[in-house]
Symmetry: C2
Subunit: 293 residues, 2 copies
Amino acid sequence: MSWAEGFIAVDWGTTNRRAYRVAADGSCVEELEDGKGILSVKSEEFEGAVSEIRDRLGEGPMLLAGMVGSNRGWVEAPYVSCPAGLDELAGGLVWTDDKTAIVPGVAYSADRSDVMRGEEVQILGAAASGEIPADCLVCHPGTHNKWVLVENSRIQSFRTVMTGELFNLLRKHSILSDSLDTDEMYDAPFRAGVREGLSGNALTSELFSVRASVLLGRLDKAHAVSFTSGLLIGYDVCAGVSGKSAEPLIVMGRPELTTLYSKALEEAGVESRQIDGEGAFLAGARKIAERIR
Amino acid sequence: MSWAEGFIAVDWGTTNRRAYRVAADGSCVEELEDGKGILSVKSEEFEGAVSEIRDRLGEGPMLLAGMVGSNRGWVEAPYVSCPAGLDELAGGLVWTDDKTAIVPGVAYSADRSDVMRGEEVQILGAAASGEIPADCLVCHPGTHNKWVLVENSRIQSFRTVMTGELFNLLRKHSILSDSLDTDEMYDAPFRAGVREGLSGNALTSELFSVRASVLLGRLDKAHAVSFTSGLLIGYDVCAGVSGKSAEPLIVMGRPELTTLYSKALEEAGVESRQIDGEGAFLAGARKIAERIR
């Protein structure tokens, strides 16, 4: 079975994986999603975990992207350097056998160092399929939010902000845990947090102030999670859009996160458009598969 | 036995406690230190944990300060507000029986909200005994670093930066854990981290960059802990000294931490003087005991 007859595309992250069977006409005809992210798979178990996908979705060729290609994943696919487009991704594929390829991540190393794995397929896929402009700034929230400058449909540079991870650390393990043990989100305290985050005050000080505000009765405990989420995202937006020219701004990823970032950008006076990352991933996988002939 | 004949002073924090028997002449004649911080003592166990101290150090009156007076401690001693001096602390003592008093914490609530418990005894003690000037800026590192503006030997305002806690969270629970699993500290990467932190770039982005720099071979993994410590402390110093006038700057606390902050201040071009917090605590406890008559 050749790539043109269809293939399986896998977006394999740290905590989850999603696999799609893509038909010859490019449509997604079947999918599976489970919690077998790379952190829950031992190195000797990856072959079995891949077979499992083929058992469910068929014996076609397979393209794997995301943390599965990291040094903690199955087989390491070395980073390609910025500027990187679909040709560079296809050129950097690492083959585990003649029908199974792993997509490389992208590295930025100039004034700073930065790395990504997984987002590049979505972003370049969306650019190649015309879903986003060839020149734009993409905000891709997740455990590690990425601000990605796209030029001529290639990733020119990017900056990671570990907002999602810090939020989870604070909720689970910090002195703030007590104040952040609710799940419900409220709009007004979220936006108040965003404005505080946008002010550029020292984040590690503002975070402690959340606890103090709850203790002193100046912040309703039920609102503390929303405020803290807003504070972190506002600080993130401040880092991501500062000094950028007026490119169109796209927020891409899971809808529950892109909504929050769009609100934060609105508070910052920046217009943005939301794109669901799942469709963009499939577009990217198809474009890479087209280059494997 | 009256307070003038001697007393026991206890500095009871989140993870440790230290107790001192102070003689009639003010000298410390015996002490104990153990890991029974408030997090390891259940609320019904506090009476026993206090008796234990008296069994070891004698039946005198006892003054307790620190997190033992918090809502997670033994008996809550409500915060006194800034500006706060030794008179306010003595006036806010909460008595659990006629010879056992808990020192209140200090709250700041104006443009921001902030709280402290424990550092106030050290800082006001050092000011009252002339060890630090009546007007100065005190940096008090720990799990939560405090920048405390002292005016006329009273705490005028302060700002907490949760540097120590974030450092521990990152080492124990984050994507950086892998890169931060060494203990040895090196001066050059620490200072390089400080300079990066002082630059005011977005902390949550610079932190991820540490991981990327290690992955891309641009930062020696053995230096990553030193660099990250410097980055966090540099960012902290940037938050703490910005906009402050040229008061003398004191760094007070445990010597292994005051050394790091002094180095970071040196990188920022700010002169500072280090003071050991233990002697300052005893000075503060004596000054409060003098007011109980």
